[in-house]
């Protein structure tokens, strides 16, 4: 036999808190995404390199990371590389995709991971071990995106 019914209007504080936290979870998950991406060449010239996020906070870049990126690509490419790079999480838990514009990101990621990668449909697909390696080297120049498309 089912237990006594609970009135939806008279939810317990626990239930209310649960609903609120679930709503909050959806809000915060992508709040830290940058409003715009900045070019590497511009960031290198800034005293405190950062971008503004959707929630109004700032995302700071480490100079050492920017210098590392600058060392692996040409000066012309520095003007084209948009940062932070966006890592989209796939529906398959084992893989992730880096959203990219073209060959430049492909070259950069390939050099960082020290393995060939290919860009297909504006995405570079990588697996968890590579993702961990990439995040270890580029902590501040990459951010995660939780795309609704990936939610199945």
């Amino acid at each position: 036999m089912p237990k006594p019914l609970q009135d939806e209007a008279k939810q317990s504080p626990y239930e209310k808190m649960l609903q609120e936290s679930v709503r909050g979870e959806l809000r915060i998950v992508n709040a830290g995404l940058p409003k715009t991406q900045e070019r590497l060449a511009n960031l290198l010239n800034e005293k405190y390199p950062h971008v503004v996020c959707h929630d109004g906070s700032t995302h700071s870049f480490k100079k050492s990371e920017l210098e590392y990126l600058a060392s692996i690509i040409d000066t012309d490419e520095q003007k084209a590389l948009a940062l932070p790079m966006l890592i989209e999480l796939g529906p398959n838990q084992g893989e992730a995709a880096i959203i990219c514009e073209g060959k430049l990101e492909e070259k950069t990621i390939s050099k960082v991971l020290n393995m060939p990668v290919t860009c297909e449909q504006r995405r570079i697909r990588i697996y968890r071990p590579q993702l961990a390696l990439l995040r270890r080297k580029l902590k501040t120049t990459t951010v995660y995106v939780f795309s609704p498309k990936t939610v199945t």
Binding site: P2, S21, R135, K139
Partner: protein, 209 residues
Amino acid sequence: MPELIRVRPTKIELVKLKRRLILAQRVQKIVKDRLSILTMEFLQTARDTVEAKRKLLDEASKLYKALSVAAGYHGYIAMGKELAATEADLKVTAGSRNIAGVRIPSFELVGNGKPMRGYSLADTSSWLDRAAQLSEECLKAIVELAELQRSFELLAMEINRTKRITNALEYVVIPRLQATISYLNMKFEERDREEKVRLKRVKVLVARG
């Protein structure tokens, strides 16, 4: 058996509940993805923290030895006199970054590539240079460790919070919604059966009459 949500047994309520169930399942998927990313970052930070701590201890041990040798060579008073002029403010750039919704502090020691030494190179030996170089390495390691340790704490707190939400969704919200949907479905089926029996009964009564 999970508790049922009190709703009016109507088709509209059933549709609403089904929508809520789909939304809850989507949220659960997002939260689970987030949890897996946070866990991955946490483990990475833990590894980095251990490494940074080991590095700091190594550097500090080397620094202590180098400083002892330099003090032995120059004498404490002479070395103290030389080092009195080298005091400088330490500049650390503090910012923040976001990992899957968690704001993590980011510290970086500001240095323009020049060593922070102010003592006379003519009056001191290379032992003091070595000690100064090691102390700079030590400062870098301290700043790095501070960032990693705080990140470690923040990620751990967020993982705990996210785990509670995942468990609540998995063991409370979704089972309740599923139970209520199945209860309403059963109720509608029961109503249909009652209706059929009633119609049959009426048909029999009409046929008799």
